[in-house]
């Protein structure tokens, strides 16, 4: 069909047809072109549909993670219970455990329900208390220890509701499933409805999802991305600080100063190969070098950052070299011509002109590193980390989590409440990636020069 055989039926003599009526071969070629276009349209439609489906499924399951059900309870912080020594000294008050605070909140809830005359049916006080997240006791305790002056006063405390109650208002739990569910009951859901009617319970925006640390399987309602976001930021900082200068220096040397010989060819080939090495390989490398040999602590941002920096290096060097190559030789010649040294030429002219390309490459490299999970598996970052790392530089040595790893972690949890949180974390990660890629595009559009 595609051969250009001119000896065919229409070649030479038999040109009897007009140009307006396509002959057989033209018709075949036109049909082929239409088919090809149709394939293209089908391919793109499929891709768009897949993307839309992905986004719809992620957003529909993930958006509820940003909202949470709270029970607003007026809690009287009884000094006789919380500070038996009576000195208002946080160290002494720490002897009251979260169990003590839990009881206090449970009692306050029961009292408030009774005061408002809300019918609890046949539920025992213990069942009513189970509607509150266990996390709220810890929250209240930290609040009081941080500010002992609160003792003796009555505060309006927004306690997180239990994950199943929360799921009821998000449509995850229904009366029918609650009847089968060992962890909740239709009576609890009915009481929750009455609490909502009385204005004590409300599903509202929950910034805690972005600021609170991870939580165990028993309290999906309290799990947040705080440690993961901080860990990811620390790692990106390390990647930036290490990979950008080294990558740019290496590219400048290779592009502007290095002699062209077998060694530099070898290095060049290796850089291209390294960029294609599967990321898990860097994890094994990191485990061997930084943890087993270097003695750096496991699960820390510094090891994660170093591994990701190694992984990102070739991905920065390649676009940087391309950007340096794109600067026309006339710029160099002019600089050298007026007497600049080669270093001055590079630093004053070539590198600044290549900078948009360098930054674009760096940002895209960082975005890739941000979404990377595989290498972090091996260096112990797929872990339950609840304490926030300290401020840098020492905080880099504290255990931390990372965004993609947190998503991976949550998808493996047994409690159904973690499904929405994993999707919510994906939304956060996507937002970060979109912001970074947009920044790269803006930089490129704004500063890129064509010669």
């Amino acid at each position: 069909m595609t051969t250009l055989d001119m000896t065919g039926e229409n070649a030479g003599t038999g040109r009897s047809k007009s140009l307006f009526t396509a002959d057989k071969r033209t018709a075949a070629r036109n049909a082929a072109e239409r088919r090809f276009r149709a394939y293209g349209v089908v391919a793109i439609t499929l891709a768009i549909l897949a993307l839309v489906w992905l986004l719809i499924s992620i957003f529909s399951t993930g958006l509820p993670a940003f909202k949470q059900t709270f029970i607003d309870i007026p809690v009287t912080l009884d000094a006789a219970v919380l500070d038996k020594a009576g000195h208002g000294n946080p160290d002494e008050m720490a002897s009251v455990s979260t169990i003590g605070y839990g009881k206090l909140i449970a009692k306050a809830l029961s009292a408030e329900i009774a005061a408002r005359g809300i019918d609890t049916g046949k539920m025992k006080p213990r069942d009513v208390a189970e509607m509150i997240s266990e996390e709220s006791a810890a929250t209240l305790r930290n609040m009081v220890l941080a500010n002992p002056k609160l003792l003796g006063s009555t505060i309006q405390f927004p306690a997180l509701a239990n994950g199943r109650i929360d799921g009821y208002f998000k449509g995850r739990v229904t009366m029918a499933t609650a009847a089968l569910d060992k962890n909740t009951s239709p009576e609890k859901l009915a009481l929750a409805d009455r609490l909502v009617a009385a204005g004590m319970m409300q599903t509202r925006l929950n910034l805690g999802f972005l600021t609170m640390p991870d939580a165990s399987d028993q309290r999906p309602e309290a799990a947040g991305l705080g440690v993961a976001i901080l860990g990811s930021l620390y790692m990106m900082f390390i990647v930036l600080v290490l990979a950008l200068p080294i990558g740019v220096a290496a590219s400048v040397y290779l592009e502007e100063f290095a002699p062209k010989n077998r060694w530099t060819d070898l290095i060049e080939v290796n850089i291209s190969n390294l960029a294609a090495v599967p990321s898990i390989v860097y994890g094994i490398l990191g485990l061997a070098i930084f943890i087993n040999f270097g003695g750096l602590p496991r699960s820390t941002a510094i090891v994660g950052g170093l591994v990701l920096a190694l992984m990102t290096l070739p991905r920065i060097i390649i676009p940087t070299r391309a950007a340096l190559k794109a600067v026309p030789p006339s710029i160099r010649d002019a600089a050298l011509g007026v007497g600049a040294s080669r270093l001055q030429t590079v630093m004053h002219h070539v590198l600044p002109l290549a900078m948009p390309g360098v930054l674009t490459g760096t940002i895209i490299g960082l975005a890739q590193a941000l979404g990377e999970t595989a290498p972090l598996l091996l260096i112990g970052m797929v872990a339950f980390v609840r304490d926030f790392p300290k401020a840098p530089p020492m905080g880099l040595l504290d255990p931390a989590s990372a965004l993609p790893v947190q998503i991976f972690n949550w998808t493996q949890r047994g409690d159904p409440g973690f499904v929405e949180r994993a999707s919510g974390a994906i939304i956060v990660l996507l937002v970060f990636l979109i912001v970074m890629n947009t920044a790269a595009i803006i930089l490129r559009r704004k500063y890129e020069r064509r010669w």
Binding site: S97, T98, V173, L180, S216, V241, G294, S299, R386, Q412
Partner: protein
């Protein structure tokens, strides 16, 4: 600050940290993904009392946890390995070679293994024999070993519901598989009679070799699609089950207890699995869960002894404790464990 200076100081920090390796003040735990939820629940409750930092808990599997434990002694190695199967002599030898000579074995409780089907499906009441007859590669029929071609559970056993056979069982990397193999498949194989037939067909030299061949025969499961090994977690088994309502999945009791609205559990030998029936031993398919502790780290890593005491305390692992709420089966001999933890008793040689 110029970029040069920034990167120079970054290097300085890394170099300094590599040498100083500041004292670790946080426990590091790794191992079984079955124990993981229990370990995180305890870690969370332990950390929020504010005296010590919250331990860092990693999953990764029982074998990986024990390997990490046996890597050596020092702050850059983990303190506790969670394990859903008992430590092997090979691990102990590796430990010893790397200087980890003092290991404490703590049995934290038991975990049941349950068979569950979709909530809307029919009820199942199985015996290990029925499971084997559904999924074994060859079954006994009229005194002969024949290839298993049963399409439905009714065909295979003659009494279960006529539902297509599709068993989602844990892959071989899971500790759960070991228990499933020995307590369900092998027991069922013996009850079915296939074991004896395999043994009779064996060409092994002595009785022991024949037993080994027979066991190997029993562990051979159907490869025609009726048995699917799941290498991921229970969440994967659950989503497969949601996609194919005919499937029967193998789950841990704690996972089932948190998803009772989606799963219907099968009785085994007439017993409904629950923390009670497993604790009193009437439900046949259960296994102990362990923590292996590097005793050389007690007194070095702050909070290790306290964490262990807290883990085995009545508030956590006891019959009324938090872990039981989540599906752990409390150990009836918990008091002994508590005393052993307090005294720092090392584990004896494997029996």
């Amino acid at each position: 600050m110029s970029p040069m200076k920034v990167s120079a100081s970054a290097f300085a920090i890394i170099a300094a940290s590599a040498f100083s390796a500041s004292a670790r003040d946080q426990l590091q735990i790794a191992g079984s993904s079955t124990v993981l939820p229990f370990a995180t629940i305890v870690a969370e409750a332990f950390g929020e009392q504010g005296k010590f930092k919250t331990p860092v808990v990693e999953g990764g599997g029982s074998g990986a946890g024990r390997a990490a434990l046996c890597k050596g002694v020092g702050e850059d190695t983990i303190d506790i390995a969670d394990s859903s199967s008992r430590i092997s002599q090979k691990d102990i030898d590796t430990c010893k070679a790397n200087g980890v000579t003092d290991i404490m074995e703590i049995r934290i409780g038991y975990d049941g293994i349950v068979f569950a089907t979709d909530i809307a499906g029919p009820d199942f009441a199985v015996e290990p024999k029925d499971i084997y007859e559904g999924i074994g590669a060859k079954v006994a029929k009229d005194g002969k070993l024949v290839d298993n071609t049963a399409k439905t559970w009714a065909d295979a056993t003659g009494k279960l519901p006529a539902q297509d056979i599709l068993a989602l069982i844990p892959g071989s990397k899971h500790g759960t598989r070991e228990v499933f193999d020995t307590k369900v498949v092998l027991a069922g194989c013996k009850a079915d009679g296939a074991y004896d037939l395999y043994k009779a067909a064996s060409t092994g030299a002595d009785d022991k070799a024949k037993d080994k061949d027979a066991e190997k025969g029993c562990y051979t499961l159907r490869t025609d699609g009726a048995v699917v090994e799941i290498d991921g977690d229970y969440t994967e088994t659950l989503s497969r089950l949601a996609a194919n309502k005919n499937a029967m999945g193998v789950f841990g009791l704690s996972f089932y207890e948190n998803n009772t609205d989606k799963l219907k559990v099968a009785t085994v030998s007439g017993i409904v699995p629950s923390t009670e029936t497993i604790a009193d031993g009437t439900y046949p398919v259960s296994r102990p869960l362990y923590m292996y502790v590097k005793k050389q780290h007690i007194g070095v890593i702050p909070g290790l002894q306290e964490y262990l005491d807290f883990f085995v305390s009545d508030d956590m692992a006891g019959p009324e404790g938090k872990l039981v709420d989540y599906g752990l089966v409390a150990d009836p001999k918990l008091a002994d464990t508590q005393a052993a933890v307090k005294a720092g008793t090392l584990m004896g040689p494997l029996k």
